[in-house]
Symmetry: C2
Subunit: 163 residues, 2 copies
């Protein structure tokens, strides 16, 4: 139907305190206070210019420990089977992860951020600014997530993590 193979190479690697998937917070909102770093390959240094002025950035990465595809999963926040594309679970046909983290500072080619919900050693594919102009949308409905109260979400989303 279109290009059948798309090949990417990491632009760097994520460093975090998370080494066990089952203990890793599922989203940055449940990982506040958890520090992470993105170590970028020197060759891309120039591309990091002007990034430090943004308080939040998207990290797009490869779930390299996800070894299987599941089209239906029980999401982390609820014990009900859901279509994979209605969740952020890693067992996706293309195991791409997306996190919005708070950028703390950049030193050389190392980005320091808060809200690390990513396993140590994860290959990084892209960085984009998250901005008020582009990324704040008026959400009307949240599908099955509207059935999950905030207390349950906080508890299950942290998966044992406490800052």
């Amino acid at each position: 139907m279109t290009d059948s193979r798309i090949v990417y190479s990491p632009i760097g690697v994520i460093r975090s305190e998370h080494t066990i998937a089952a203990n890793t917070p599922i989203q940055p909102v449940y990982a506040k206070g958890c520090k992470g770093r993105a170590e970028i390959i020197d060759a891309y240094s120039e591309g990091l210019s002007d990034l430090e002025g943004f308080s939040h950035i998207y990290l797009i990465y490869h779930f390299n420990q996800s070894r299987e595809v599941k089209l239906t999963v029980k999401p982390f926040l609820q014990d009900v089977d859901r279509g994979i594309f209605s969740t952020r679970a890693p067992y996706r046909p293309n195991p791409i992860g997306l996190s919005v983290v708070e950028l703390v500072k950049i030193e050389g080619t190392v980005l320091y951020f808060d809200g690390a919900d990513i396993l140590d050693g994860t290959p990084l594919l892209d960085i984009k600014p998250y901005t008020a102009k582009f990324d704040l949308h008026e959400v009307k409905t949240n599908g099955w997530q509207d059935e999950v109260d905030e207390k349950t979400a906080q508890h299950r989303g942290k998966r044992g993590y406490s800052p």
Copy 2:
């Protein structure tokens, strides 16, 4: 440093009225009223369950018409050179595109959405729900975008598109 080649395959294709890159709105916020479709491969049909309840979704796609990498670009909204990772321009080391669009309806394996800022024929890599719990962040600074007033952004962001 990590896996050096990451291979993905499209899960479907984006259909829109946009056939010329230079006339395509740069973000969904500048493409309101512009309809698009995501046609998903039948094999992934099961993965679309439960998605229709979400008012907004992320589309993650491959900028297949981006033929070169530029580490510094003039962003669409401003005539000043900026590091590529501080912009959403397509000339990225891994040409991954990210749009938050409004989901209108799903019929079979076809998603209908509003806010199409994507070229017709673009390979789709992933779909994720955009949710109030996970994706609304308190933006403090927007780097160089804070220098662009809203009127200029609207004008330049639409690139001639009017619904």
